[in-house]
Amino acid sequence: MANFFKLLRRNKKVSFGLFIVTTYLLIALSAPFITSHDPNDRVARPHQEPSVENVFGTTRMGRDVYHLFVHGTATSLAVGFGAGLIIVVIGTALGVSAGYFGGKYDEFVSLITNIALVIPQLPLLLVLAAFIGEASPLTIAIIIGLTSWAWGARVTRSQTLTLRNKEFIHASELACEPPWRIIFVEILPNLSSIIGLNFLGSIIYTIITEATLEFLGLGDPLAVSWGTMLFNAQNASAMTVGAWWEVLVPCLAIAILGMGLALLNFGIDEIANPRLRTFSGIKRFNKRIKQLRAKQAASSVVQSSSNSKEVAYHG
């Protein structure tokens, strides 16, 4: 835990990302407490500018944008986390099992995974969502979850293959640990960063995709989410009639959450592979070099090093 905080302090990206995501989580969780009515209630005249009563203004239908935003946050996060969970569970299960058991099973899973990878995602989702019709956020989460696991499966599989040949896995096998235990206790903990990356990446992907589908009018228009906010704003030509708040709020909501998750993702990547860090020490490094050069220049007048250390010289 202490390490965790130390890490946060050191990695500004992670801490900033974590701050953003936590804020969103808090907003989502406390939605019932920080709102006063159903977000779909018509509370004011259409397109009221942000004011004390309606801090983010109102929509064309006279709904309060703040309430829509808060409930939309809950929806988006739920969809993101839900689909993220599905993606991670399917991807990890397939990837780890294929990588661990190998053989014909692996060939089969890899084939399916590779096929899923070369089928274009978004067009397929568009068509699916349109055909299913009235796609609620839950439905969208499920179809995104069920169609987007391939990348995770592939990455997890290759990582598992690497682990599979590690000697500690051989040692566990020799110690006669049952396969399930090797998978869950020996392999999975070592995949945590990959799983974490997959999870965060999937959340970003899902939230973006959900918003896109809804924006195109393929979602359930009654759902309160950022996507439907954009869709409704679009339908009301909010930008044209000067109701910028109706567009800006969901746009920023998505962009900022995306940023938070991305920073978190980046941070995990850096922690898992310290070489990838953007090495904040370079400034310090250059400063240090400068100091040294200055010192050397100063001391070069005085003939160097009478303080040679003791070395056993022969002859």
Binding site: L216, L222, S237, V241
Partner: protein
């Protein structure tokens, strides 16, 4: 269903085509070119086959293939003769003779005559796929009496048949008899009788259609060409309109006074006369027993009707564009000349928003919350719970339904909104597998079309208009009776009786009439129809034959 508020589904906050000023278009700047935007498409495909209802270009009907006559509902069904000079029924209205105008020529110079008419109807009969208006259900024979007279016979007395007959395009026999497959024929270089037959320029993005060199009514026609830029959605139409690039168009524009009129109040104008009627449907044949019981009770239907905040629907959901419909018969302002005042006196209270009265009515009829779930149940205790279907993406309707649900919930009725895809909505209405829905009805030349498709027992399961499954033998009889005479006064009386039965039973719950989308720009042309000059329905789109009258009344500003 011509004028549902057009679905604005496509993306773009505001999109404009960067079009050069119209005057710069082409070298023939001395020509009077009218820029119109009758439909929204993502690309123009060269297809001038007038029978291909789904994919032909919007300037095919009327502009290339002039109708025999035009019936004008706005003038109580007045006939404007075009290629025909006269229509005469026999005594029992089982046949009508169309006398054709002499001297009419096809645009290639060939003479137009009765054989062309017979050929066209035979063509439709031989190719069922072309008979999209089901004309051969209304007529039983076509006979050429002489080169300028054609006789149509009807299976039953039917004074309304000519209304449909004149909607069938008449094509040139000397061209079409050589066409191998008229269904897939694209008729790229059309030969017509209408005012604008020459395709001067054609790209997927824009096309220009100009004056027929042999037009019979040449002196009336002041517009030399129409130019159609391809515009994919409302936003693009708006952008083009704001720049004054469109002269005559019909599109949903949000906050039109702000977004359009304000840009040039002198010239940018609109007029949204009432069009098709929008009503809520309760399925009398619902598969859920509790719902079915309630829906079959006229008191329940009336209470539901009184929970509809029609003013909010019009003003908030519809931007104030639709026309309020508080006619208990659903007749609407568009057909006010047919109105039976008695009906409103007797049943008018049921089609006005009055939540208190609605509650009282429910209470009186024995609807109470029996199981304590917070919602009212049938007098026998069975539960009432239903979703109101509305096509996904039809935003204004979705909002309308939400307003309705707000009212119903307030009354204690367990109603929700459900937004299936338009396809699913349509098929649910056709096969009756739904509880409640919002729906729009045909606006015909007379109100008969709306009532007939909605309630005549022969129409069950045929279209989504018969969705409520309400039929009444008396009503059937009256509907059959309406067109069996050519006597206007008799028709008026029948229509009065029809309204009475409908209003008494309230089988649908009218809320408003869709607006006819129509905007215009007087910078370059004048003579536009508007509230002060209400000659006919003003929309430019191809479902509206009166647009020919409109085109002919336009002239360039000097």
């Amino acid at each position: 269903m011509k004028n549902l508020i057009v679905r604005s589904t496509l993306a773009a906050i505001l999109s404009s085509s960067v079009i050069l000023p119209v005057t710069a278009a082409g070298a023939d700047s001395d020509k009077a070119i009218l820029n119109i935007a009758p439909v929204q498409r993502t690309s123009w495909v060269r297809n001038f086959n007038p029978y291909n209802q789904t994919t032909f270009l919007p300037t095919t009907n009327e502009y290339i293939y002039e109708p025999l006559a035009i019936y004008n509902p706005m003038q109580g069904g007045k006939v404007h003769y075009r290629l025909a000079e006269n229509i005469e029924f026999n005594s029992d209205a089982t046949a009508a003779v169309f006398t054709l105008r002499k001297g009419v020529k096809w645009s290639d110079g060939e003479e137009f005559n009765a054989d062309d008419v017979k050929f066209s109807f035979d063509l439709v009969k031989a190719n069922p796929a072309l008979d999209t208006r089901a004309i051969w259900q209304r007529i039983s024979g076509v006979e050429v009496l002489n080169s300028h007279q054609v006789k149509f016979t009807f299976p039953v007395p039917d004074s309304g048949a000519p209304i449909e007959i004149v909607r069938v395009p008449v094509v040139a026999e000397h061209i079409w008899r050589d066409v191998k497959d008229p269904v897939t024929f694209t008729n790229e270089n059309p030969v017509g009788t209408g005012p604008l037959t020459e395709i001067e320029r054609f790209t997927t993005r824009v096309y220009v259609q100009c004056r027929n060199p042999h037009y019979w009514d040449d002196s009336t026609l002041k517009v030399d060409c129409v130019r159609l830029p391809q515009l994919a959605n409302n936003d693009q139409v708006l952008a083009a309109a704001q720049k004054g690039e469109l002269d005559w168009f019909g599109s949903f524009l949000p906050d039109i006074d702000k977004t359009y009129v304000a840009k040039d109040a002198q010239n940018f104008k609109y007029w949204f006369p009432a069009d098709s009627m929008v009503a809520f449907n309760l399925n009398l044949a619902s598969t859920k027993p509790g719902n079915r019981k309630a829906f079959n009770d006229v008191h329940f239907r009336r209470a539901v009707s009184m929970a509809m905040d029609r003013n909010s629907m019009v003003n908030i959901a519809g931007y104030g564009y639709p026309t309020l419909n508080e006619y208990p018969s659903g007749l609407g302002a568009g057909y006010h000349s047919w109105n039976n005042d008695e009906v409103d006196k007797k049943f008018g209270q049921y089609s006005r928003y009055d939540i208190k009265a609605a509650k009282a009515l429910l209470q009186q009829a024995g609807y109470q919350d029996k199981d304590g779930d917070g919602y009212v149940d049938n007098p026998d205790g069975s539960a009432i719970a239903f979703s109101i279907l509305v096509p996904n993406g039809w935003t204004d309707w979705v909002n309308t339904v939400q307003i309705a649900v707000d009212g119903l919930q307030e009354m204690g009725i367990n109603a929700k909104v459900s937004t299936p895809e338009a396809t699913a909505w349509t098929s649910a209405l056709i096969d009756g597998s739904y509880d409640a829905a919002i729906n729009a009805y045909f606006a015909g030349v007379t109100p008969h079309l709306m009532y007939n498709t909605a309630f005549h027992s022969s129409q069950l399961d045929k279209t989504r208009m018969s969705s409520t499954r309400f039929t009444d033998p008396e009503l059937d009889k009256l509907l059959d009776q309406f067109y069996s005479t050519t006597n206007k006064a008799k028709q008026q009386q029948t229509m009065g009786q029809i309204q009475m039965i409908v209003a008494e039973n309230m089988p649908f719950i009218p809320v408003f009439n869709n607006p006819s989308w129509y905007q215009y720009n007087t910078q370059r042309f004048e003579g536009f129809f508007n509230a002060d000059n209400p000659i006919a329905k003003p929309q430019p789109h191809p479902g509206n034959p009166e647009r020919l009258l409109h085109l002919l009344s336009l002239k360039p500003k000097s």
